[in-house]
Amino acid sequence: MEEILKVDNLTKSFKQSKKLFKPEKNGGVKVAVNNLSFSAYKGEIFGLLGPNGAGKTTTLRMLATLIKPDSGNATINGKSIVSDKEAVRRSIGFLTSELKLDETFTPEYLFNFFADLYGVETNVRNARKTQLFSKFGINEFAGQKLGNLSTGMKQKVSLVVSIAHDPEFIIFDEPTNGLDVLTGKVVTDFLQELRAEGKTIILSTHIFSLVEKLCDRVGILIDGKLAAIDSLKNLTQEKNLEDTFFGLYESVTGEKV
């Protein structure tokens, strides 16, 4: 198996703001991601499963080079997220509700704009736009301001724009958050198609069913640390995923769920 993503002792802490400052706890520093190491392989969907505040988003933001790790490193396609940011940015697509598109533009303009920034050639860009727009039913709305479109349509446009440059590695934070079941299905179906094309995908979620439906391998993230990492099959052999998770959670945090 070809290793596409290699995460090596990634660590990130945040200074807590004064309001959240709890003096007794680590002097106001929150370790969001704590010495995280794992790998993802070509053509798989890797799921980061964890409760709120586990550090999923922080991990993905570091992989997408949006924030710098305090220590540790990760490579995507052999390129370091610390020392070769530009190459990493070129080869990934990052989708999260935190990244917004300017609503005064049309889907058509936004697709062209971002494809251009990634250096996609015009004819390749146009062919890809035609294909993706018709696949997601955007054609009809391609010339309308994004702000006038429905939430589901906006989400589809965001998805399409984030992969305008046909990235090999796709990072997806909470893919179905805030989507209705119909749009959610469009998105999950598409992720499976991308996998079939040989793309590698890492996604984060706290939804067990999504992991069970999509992921080949799963890392269970609790309090910034991986409590378990294995194939979905192995993780669900003895108990179902939910029970496995709660068992791990209790042993890691010492809290009864």
């Binding site: 530009e86 940015r89 070129r90 917004k100 005064t104 533009f105 251009d116 920034l117």
Partner: protein, 375 residues
């Protein structure tokens, strides 16, 4: 470089599809024109007491050629020397002094026209009237060059006169406040606004170099503010004749092409400097509201600096290097027709260096996640 262009193009599309923003460009020019024209009318009523229809201006004439008579046209006064006469013109005790050249006879009807000097004081209505009478007479003879020596000052206007003060104080102040408000209208919206709306992060995950983003922003924002500056500039040009026609004698206060060039260059450099400071502050702010909060005090300082120009009698030309204060001094210098080109050049250079330094600073700020992703 291609990415910078892509970003500039996007900024332009966004700007020009927003009617509010387009209005921001043209409003300052229209306002300046309206305000200055009103002020000009007002001041001409206030400042220019009507002179008697049959007022006879006083004149001191040196070397009046034989055969020329000014009987009835001027009331002749005599002086020990020309300096004493100049002092009286300055103090509005004498209206004009006319100096014919000593070698007038030899040159008369020769190849080169002899030069006649006419000294006057444009702040005095009587003197301005006397000046126009003298010019009319001399022009009729069509045998002289009049006040052709550009290095000499013929308008002995009292620089402390109210009118000159108003002009050199109000214009930089008004110009500064209009330019600053144009910059204020575009910078926070485009930088802090993008952070607030979450579109900046989308741009930051692309492989575009941060310096390219910054450059694209500064260039396009400066263009928008410059368009607005240009509209203010047109407003000033159109209204200056009204202003100067009111308080000053139009012919005495006319500006040369060089003055307009200096003014134009100065305005562009001021806009660049303002956009870059405001952009830095907008980058620091987490939303448009905070950016406005950061910028407002600075804007007041800038406007006050633009106003200070009358109180600062600069001893050294290096004072033009101080951001904004120097630009204000240079502008009031140009407007009172007493600009030192070196001072104007220093002010422009200082603005450009200032802009370059802040652009570099901003590129570093764009690499800092704590600044760019601040919530």
């Amino acid at each position: 470089m291609k990415n910078v262009l892509t970003i500039i193009k996007k900024e332009f599309v966004r700007f020009f599809t927003d009617r509010r923003m387009v209005l921001m460009i043209f409003l300052p020019g229209i306002l300046i024109y309206a305000i200055y024209s009103l002020m000009g009318n007002f001041m001409s009523e206030m400042g220019q007491p009507d002179i008697d229809k049959d007022y006879v201006p006083t004149a001191y004439i040196i070397g009046l050629p034989e055969g020329l008579s000014v009987e009835g046209v001027f009331k002749i006064k005599s002086y020990e020397n020309s300096e004493a006469a100049k002092t009286d013109i300055y103090d509005s005790k004498l209206d004009i002094m006319v100096v014919f050249p000593a070698d007038f006879k030899e040159n008369y009807a020769g190849e080169t026209k002899p030069e006649v000097k006419v000294y006057y004081n444009s702040a005095s209505a009587q003197s301005a009237f006397g000046y126009s009478v003298a010019i009319a007479l001399l022009n009729e003879l069509n045998a002289f060059k009049i006040n052709s020596d550009v290095s000499e000052k013929f308008d002995l206007v009292n620089s402390e006169s109210l009118a000159a003060d108003i002009l050199s104080m109000i214009i930089p102040m008004l110009m500064f406040s209009l330019l600053a408000s144009s910059c204020m209208a575009v910078a926070p919206e485009s930088i802090a606004g993008e952070k607030e709306r979450g579109t900046m992060a989308t741009l930051l995950i692309t492989p575009v170099k941060r310096a390219e983003i910054v450059l694209g922003k500064i260039i396009s924002l400066s263009c928008f503010a410059m368009l607005s500056g240009f509209s203010s500039f047109i407003g000033v040009i159109l209204s200056l004749p009204k202003l100067s026609g009111g308080v000053f004698n139009l012919s005495s206060m006319s500006y040369g092409v060089g003055d307009y060039f200096m003014l134009f260059g100065l305005i562009i450099s001021i806009v660049l400097a303002m956009i870059s400071v405001f952009s830095v502050l907008s980058t620091l702010a987490k939303n448009v509201k905070e950016a406005s909060m950061f910028i407002t005090p600075l804007m007041i300082v800038i406007i006050v600096l633009g106003m200070c120009t009358t109180f600062i009698k600069s001893s050294s030309v290096a004072i033009h290097l101080i951001p904004f204060l120097g630009s204000g001094l240079a502008m009031s210098g140009i407007l009172s027709a007493a600009a030192s080109p070196v001072g104007v050049a220093l002010a422009i250079i200082s603005n450009l260096v200032f802009t370059a330094a802040l652009t570099v600073l901003m590129a570093f700020m764009f690499k800092n996640e704590n600044i760019m992703l601040k919530k």
